[in-house]
Symmetry: C2
Subunit: 354 residues, 2 copies
């Protein structure tokens, strides 16, 4: 029985990079005897919203909830539709309703991609950011009082639950334990955010007791961002709350040269629901429609998806193909200083798959 993948290209360059992602997955699947079926969906896009007045059909959960995974391009088009409508109406809904409590992103300096950090070489930067993906600072509790007066104020609660914090920490410690360095770094800010962050620290300490083989440390988020720039070689697995993880998983890829090639997974580790795999770059309205977007983030996200499905070899063959394509420097898109278009770059990676 083939894996059933729900394909959602979404907006902007999401539509342009998706075919290349599928091309490479199909190539790797064929070579490794993996059967994959792609089902295409047009919702979770501005086009759909324009026609239907909402981002997704009422029965979206029935339509894609039974799939093995969701392969997602990008959503959002700030000039046309408010972020809170487009994002909270799709991406954040998936995260919450499919309980994708792990947001996982590799931070790896790839061969052939110059780092903005002086003197860093492939191998120097190679770690994972594990982000809590359902609660924390992204809450819906809060409001405004005395509107339009001088006394006006607005509040929003950060919410951390025992369940929510413990399960992301468990995932992060497990990941650290599976890696050679066995090193976990926790992002905190307990010296300033004096209620929720000390709780986070407390749960890290408690969880660490179950992983005596893992060395762990913690940094306040301010100095941690500084250390991403000054000492990216210090890190192996970095875990953070929804907001801190969000920041670190953009800053990390930036330190490796371009967020244009970074992949991500929104993962429900128990597989009770499909997980979403998407490139870190957004819909990029400024370059959409020109066919010049870099498809590597989409392709790499496909590798993460295959890995999540248990197809390690096929996944590894794609990551290897990306590395070799980048290292050869012949076929690269404009963001990396070349002039290949999206399709040519996707084909080049597909050709490298072994």
């Amino acid at each position: 029985k083939p894996y059933r993948i729900a394909v959602i290209p979404g907006d902007g360059i999401g539509k342009e990079v998706m075919p290349e992602g599928i091309r490479v997955i199909e190539t790797a699947a064929k070579k490794h005897g993996v059967a994959v079926q792609f089902d295409h969906f047009d919702f979770s896009s501005y086009d759909y919203y324009e026609k239907h007045g909402q981002m997704m059909p009422d029965d979206w959960k029935a339509q894609i909830g039974g799939h093995d995974a969701i392969y997602f391009g990008a959503v959002g088009w700030p000039a046309k539709i408010a972020d809170h409508v487009s994002l909270w109406g799709s991406l954040i809904k998936f995260r919450r309703e499919f309980d994708q409590y792990v947001n996982l992103r590799p931070v790896r300096l790839m061969p052939g991609v110059p780092s903005p950090l002086a003197g860093r070489k492939p191998g120097d930067i190679d770690f994972w950011v594990v982000r809590e993906n359902t609660e924390g600072e992204y809450s819906s509790v809060g409001g405004r009082m005395f509107p339009d007066t001088e006394r006006e104020f607005v509040t929003q609660q950060t919410v951390m639950t025992r369940t929510g914090v413990d399960r992301i920490l468990k995932f992060a410690f497990e990941l650290a334990q599976s890696r050679p360095k066995k090193h976990l770094t926790s992002a905190t800010k307990s010296n300033g955010i004096s209620i929720t962050m000390p709780y986070w620290d407390e749960r890290v300490e408690a969880m660490a007791k179950s992983y005596p083989g893992v060395k762990w440390d913690k940094y306040h988020i301010d100095i941690l961002t500084a250390n991403f720039v000054l000492h990216p070689d210090w890190f192996d697995v970095v875990v953070g709350s929804n907001l801190f993880g969000d920041i670190l998983s953009d800053l990390g890829p930036a330190c490796t040269g371009t967020i244009g090639i970074a992949p991500s997974g929104n993962i429900n580790p128990e597989r009770n629901f499909p997980s979403v795999f998407e490139p870190v770059h957004g819909s990029a309205p400024d370059i959409a429609g020109q066919g010049i977007a870099n498809p590597i983030g989409m392709i790499w996200s496909g590798a993460m998806m295959l890995e999540h499905l248990g197809e390690k070899q096929a996944a590894q063959s794609i990551v290897g193909a990306i590395e070799r394509t980048l290292a050869e420097r012949t076929l690269r898109t404009r963001d990396l200083g070349g002039n290949a278009d999206t399709t040519a770059c996707g084909k080049a990676v597909a050709d490298m798959v072994d």
Copy 2:
């Protein structure tokens, strides 16, 4: 009548760099005909806490509230005293009770200091981070429910008031307007933090109407941290909430080579209360007691203090002396690859003051 400066060395290397800060201020003051009187206080330190069971005397406000400014070393010693006791018992008390609602930090690549960012030269990175310093994410509202059970949860409110947001934005727009580029960047996260951050954006938009000469833009904090690394030359004045400003004002100095030399001001612009000037580095227990700390953050903070007091020439003479000392590369501390001690470095800067 001399300016009356309250001197609080605090903990660790705070005590070691303070004499150098004073040395350089006294030199500049003499050369520029400025009269300064330093009054020394031993509270806001672990030593004081050990003797008295609290960080500061009950009448601390009476003791230092009438001074023209507070010159502050560093506070905190995590192994000996919990951060929330030491920091909330001194630094954060000053910020709140002296209404120091602006936290101001320069991000400037100095001559002779190698940037961790490839190919960046002095002049490429030169901007200010303006941080809201009294409310936002650093609130005291929140708590824990169902402790020690599986249902346990913790909440903490972010609080933004009209007064609090508008006054920091006004300060930032004024600063931008006074600079050649007249460019303001606002840090937001309205696509994820869906109540307080859209309010922040709304107030930025409203405030911008009063400053038609200032070009402004906004970035979500995740991509903004990425842009600090990828495009530090884009920025002129960057304004953020208490948390976002905290992050950006550590990340910014990291991009310029070392947070060991960065200064900061906790400012009450109306001068109803004294402002605090302190280096960005903390008490640094790991190198305390060895006399090797870099005093330049302390000295530069002294220049910011003189500037705040209206003594522009004296302030500028100190910044120039720092630049020349760093550019000559002869007398530098270990963090910058030299082997001068704290005192030698302080004397070198003092000698350069003109």
